[in-house]
């Protein structure tokens, strides 16, 4: 059985206990946080396990890369906890079970991964994807499975992720361009944390977009708009990719507004919180986030994750903010039509 590579000594020497102290949903000072975190490490009862909203943020807060969130999930599952209601958990597990219904383009050594999200296929059109597009994969057989962290089901990931990497390798893929941020997080954070071998190179689509935009530099007409960026949960697994957001914005003439809930302090889309903690907290998170964007004077809200888009696009549009996926924003900058629209 795959085991989490977790180093207790790093936590023993940690003075900041940022994983809990910085948490936006758990209110603990350093001393109490230290005590509670030790309980989590030892597998004892801790209110942390119940209070966790599964926002993934502690993965980013830990300065040692010691995977505090993965440990929380391990402990939750060991105790038989359900973060979301049991039938909802079953539904999500059943929904993404590989059933031999995957779809393929003309797969080459470099391929685009649409994960198990058909919307990504609609997004990846136009000149920016011309050369890469014939080569793509889509289906539960290539689904990254990170989402089960939200459901305290690391066991599903441990079971499925090695097979997923095998499935991708079997296609002869040497470089996978991950259009879903969570896929990139899966192969670059989760897999190494569990010692799962990833036998192909992975490229985050931010990097791909950045390079393609540079290739099409002459076609770019600066958008000259102020935008807010909606940072998603899985971005916490791979914060090293974040700089590409500003790099891309720089290329296409977009200003990122300063706001409270950005960077490390970002708020997630809230829909997972709705499932695991109920509507009151979810509504509060979404309202604070949208208020913040409105108050910051942004014209657009730029999304990385298609699910965040589905969760927030309509709500933002009703408040006068234009929701747009970052791929669509790039297409807009070179005069192409966005794929995702509200309503």
């Amino acid at each position: 059985m795959l085991a989490l590579e977790f180093d207790e000594t790093k936590c023993a020497n940690c003075k900041a206990v940022s994983c809990l102290v910085k948490c936006q949903y758990i209110d603990l000072d350093k001393d109490k946080a230290k005590i509670e975190w030790q309980k989590v490490i030892k597998g004892e009862d801790s209110p942390v396990l119940d209070a966790c909203t599964t926002c993934y943020a502690c993965e980013e807060y830990c300065p040692f890369g010691n995977h505090p969130f993965y440990l929380i999930v391990e402990r939750q599952e060991e105790r038989g906890m359900f973060t979301a209601p049991r039938p909802i958990t079953k539904q999500w597990i059943n929904m993404c079970e590989p059933a031999g219904k995957f779809r393929l383009g003309k797969v080459k050594e470099q391929a685009l991964s649409f994960c198990f999200i058909p919307a990504l296929r609609s997004l990846a059109r136009g000149r920016l994807f011309e050369s890469a597009l014939p080569s793509w994969i889509l289906g539960a057989e290539f689904f990254c499975n990170v989402v089960y962290l939200h459901f305290a089901k690391t066991s599903v990931i441990k079971d499925r992720l090695p097979k997923i990497t095998e499935n991708i390798e079997k296609q002869g893929i040497k470089e996978l361009i991950c259009l879903h941020d969570e896929c990139y997080g899966s192969f670059n954070s989760l897999a190494p944390a569990y010692g799962i071998k990833v036998p192909f190179k992975t490229t985050h689509y931010f990097e791909y977009l950045y390079n393609k935009l540079k290739e099409h530099k002459d076609a770019i007409k600066p958008l000259n708009v102020e935008v807010a960026y909606q940072r998603n949960c899985s971005a916490r697994l791979v914060p090293e990719t974040d700089h590409f957001v500003d790099d891309i914005f720089g290329l296409i003439g977009v200003d990122r507004v300063e706001r409270e809930y950005d960077g490390e302090n970002a708020l997630c889309c809230g829909e997972i919180i709705r499932m695991v903690k109920g509507y009151k907290l979810a509504d509060d998170v979404q309202k604070r986030n949208i208020d913040d964007i409105v108050n910051a004077g942004a014209e657009y809200c730029v999304f990385n994750c298609p699910f965040c888009y589905m969760a927030l696009a309509e709500k933002m549009a009703k408040r006068g903010i234009k929701p747009i996926h970052i791929i669509d924003l790039c297409k807009l900058a070179i005069g192409e039509k966005p794929a995702l629209e509200v309503g």
Binding site: A84, R86, N94
Partner: protein
Amino acid sequence: MSDMYEALVKIVGKNYVSNQKEERYFYGRDPGLMSPHEPDYVVMPRTTEEVQKIVKLANKEKIPVVPKGGGLALTGLVIPLKGGIVMDMKRIDKILEVNERARYVIVEGGTTEGGLKSYLEKHHPSLRHSIPDAPPIATVVANAVIHGQGRLTQQYGFNSDMVTGLEVVLPTGEICRIGSCSISKYWFSRGAPMPDLSGLFLGWLGTTGVITKMGLKLYPRKKIRDVEVFVTDKEDLVPDILFKLTHTEMVEDINIWCQPHPPMFRENHHVTILITGDSEEELQFKKKMIWDALQEYIDSKDGGFMWVMPDAKPTFLEMPLESLSKFADVRKGGGFEYSGPIVLAEDYPECSRKLAELAVKYKLTYSGMVRVIGRSHCIMFGFAYTFNRADLDEMDRVRKALHEVAEFALEQGGTHWKPTVDEQKMMMERMDPDTLKLMGKIKGLLDPNGIMNPRNWEVG
């Protein structure tokens, strides 16, 4: 018989009568599993007077008459089991009047559900009727006659409960008006405060007369509709969930469904909750009432609200639901039939277990489809099995499964809805003898020659 053909031509014109093989073939069957039986004639009248003349002729010649709407009941209710005349009502399809303030409509006997929906959307956008999840060619009158249910059934009961008046051609040819329209130009009540005679026709499956006009209640159409889907893996909790949901009185319609395909739906029971409002505030208020009502199941982790993503919402919100017809073709070959007994909500767990048990026993693909009637006063539990029409063995297995459902439903204390002739017999065998005698007296009085849709509700 050629005299009869000529007589019918004289009434409706030659374009609207047929005794040809093609029409007799088509009108001799329905989309369900019942064996076909061809009529001798098919006739399409245009007016009440034409209906009257046809019925008088048939009564004189003692020839069966089967009035037909969309013919979609699946249980053989418009198959002419003793031949005779199938009277297709589709040409009598005018929408005669909408009283916007009193919120009722008067339609002719063949007006379709789709036609009425479109008409109201165009001309009376603040009003709606209780549209059933049947194809749009289903007719308003036939739906009420079989005690159909629709999108407003949770709030206002069976669609037949919404009838406000009738015009009926009796089997002996008289034209009767039932309700306030019998003494007034207004069709606001089907009986009260007078004796309610509508019960002589509703539920009788066309065996006591031909309904040529019907008044029907309309209801406010709210500006916004939305959907929530509550999911549980414990069927035993469903009755209590329904009780709590209906207590809020915040819901437009409640459907429950369970099915093993696609995989994301297996093991769970899904309660579709439709909500309406004239503003976002109203909608949010209702949603919060609903969420709070079910919070205890969320806390216990036994149930939760599924994330219905924006692109999935139209599937739940469309009227009628297209997904039902997709289910009909799951096995390819376009076969689908369900038995939909009316039972208590507390029977849901037993029914859902029986549904799955029979699917295993007869190797069938199934779906359970439930509509809540009233404030959980009862439910229609649809035991639906799909089959390939080219697979006779599979069709036979579905027949056997549905026969077991029919026996099971009565054992549970339920009644059959839009029953087949066999199911009617099963109910009459169990019926209080004096009640059965009363039915026989009514039928004998109204249809002394037994010409109307014979073999249905045939007492003794």
